[in-house]
Amino acid sequence: MATSQQNINLLKVESASSPLLTSIFRIIQKAAYICLFVLIVCGVIIGTISITLTLREERVATEQKNLTSAIAAAVTKEGMITDIRTRLSVVDEIIRKQKSPLPFIDSMTVITEGTELTTLTITEDNTILIGMRLRTVSEAQTIVSRIMKLVIAKTINFPMLESFTLDEIGGIQMNVSFKVII
């Protein structure tokens, strides 16, 4: 019985693999399936997110457009509010800077009440110089006691008797200075 040489296959179709190689092949197989699975899952997740975001973006864009046009329509109102706020901040600053001239005038009025005022000067460092013409020494004493009361009340400080002159007709010229506490 003659056998054709062409039909004889001396090599095994599947070569015998070592156990190590077999386990590596098994790992590669598992890794391939896992990769495929992960790829599909990630693709589905990213696709879903992308579609959701696209829909949401469209909704948000429409909402933003509507709000923007509504606010743009109220631009005059917004301008007024901004301008009011700007002016108020400056007004507040100026009002804080304002000083009342009343302490000067009031303290001077209290001291010179009932006397004949001859000179009056207010200097830049809040000092008031007053010249008065008095008839009697007791009037001068009254002036001094008024000044002392204002000093005690902390309305004025640094009172100074600048001059005290008795003239030939019996009148008294009294010059005093003091600083007003603001």
């Binding site: 391939a32 790829l39 400056v90 100026i94």
Partner: protein
């Protein structure tokens, strides 16, 4: 070639699995990871946009809460306190009226800064945060009884437009029993804003301090009557240049 064919025949399954892994890695690197990054960026942008929308909603609600007539009144009060333009003639008339109310006579009057009528550049500027306002220095001499001058000076701190008494001196003339006072005042103006800000810019409601200041200045007597031009419709939506000599 023969060897390659034999290798493929022998390791067909392993080659297929290897190819799957390779393609998966390539797809992950070129598609999945960049796409994931893109989606994360889109999501962050979306969150930002939603936050902006929330701000826009709050801003719209705030704008809706302001009643037009109340806002118009508040605007008139602030503009009459701090004018939007140089109203030199009206200021002078207003001061004269105030003096006549207190029986004080005007002795001399001058606007001090040279060129203040014609040019913006010559005007002294004040600054509060980002606001630059213009100062008009005024020197005036008044005379009258002490009580009248006192009341006049006191009232100057509570008028619309607002003045600041920078300095004053008082002199007494015993011959005619009259007091004279030299006053250095500051008047102010602040032109309307040249731009009104963007739609997305934040807008806050008036604070209690601002409200109380508004109430306080609304009680000040108005020396200069403003025309109807200060109404709500006068706020321009584009820059204005009321002073033809302004830069």
């Amino acid at each position: 070639m023969q060897r390659a064919k034999r290798f493929l025949k022998l390791y067909k399954n392993q080659v297929v699995h290897g190819t799957i892994i390779l393609i998966s890695v390539i797809l992950a690197l070129t598609v999945i990871i960049p796409q994931a990054g893109t989606q994360i960026r889109r999501f962050k942008l979306m969150r930002e946009t939603e936050s902006n929308i929330q701000q826009l909603k709050e801003k719209q609600a705030l704008l809706d809460s302001f009643e037009s007539s109340a806002l118009d009144t508040a605007y008139r009060v602030t503009v009459s306190t701090f004018p939007k333009e140089k109203i030199l003639g009206s200021m002078m008339t207003g001061l004269e009226n105030l003096m006549s109310d207190y029986d004080v006579t005007l002795f001399s009057f001058s606007f001090d800064t040279v060129g203040s009528i014609g040019t913006q550049s010559a005007i002294k500027k004040g600054k509060k945060e980002n606001t630059i306002y213009s100062i008009i220095p005024i020197t005036m001499m008044v005379e009258g009884k002490l009580a009248n001058i006192r009341n006049f000076l006191e009232s100057l701190n509570r008028t619309r437009p607002l003045y600041l008494v920078k300095n004053f001196d008082l002199s007494f003339s015993p011959d005619d029993n009259i007091f004279r006072s030299k006053l250095i005042l500051e008047a102010y103006y602040l032109p309307l804003p040249k731009s009104l800000g963007s739609v997305g810019s934040k807008l806050a409601p008036f604070t209690d301090a601002e409200k109380s200041l508004l109430t306080k200045i609304s009680e000040f007597p108005e020396l200069v009557r403003l025309s109807g031009s200060s109404s709500i419709n006068s706020i321009p939506s584009s820059p204005v240049k009321s002073d033809p000599f302004a830069p």
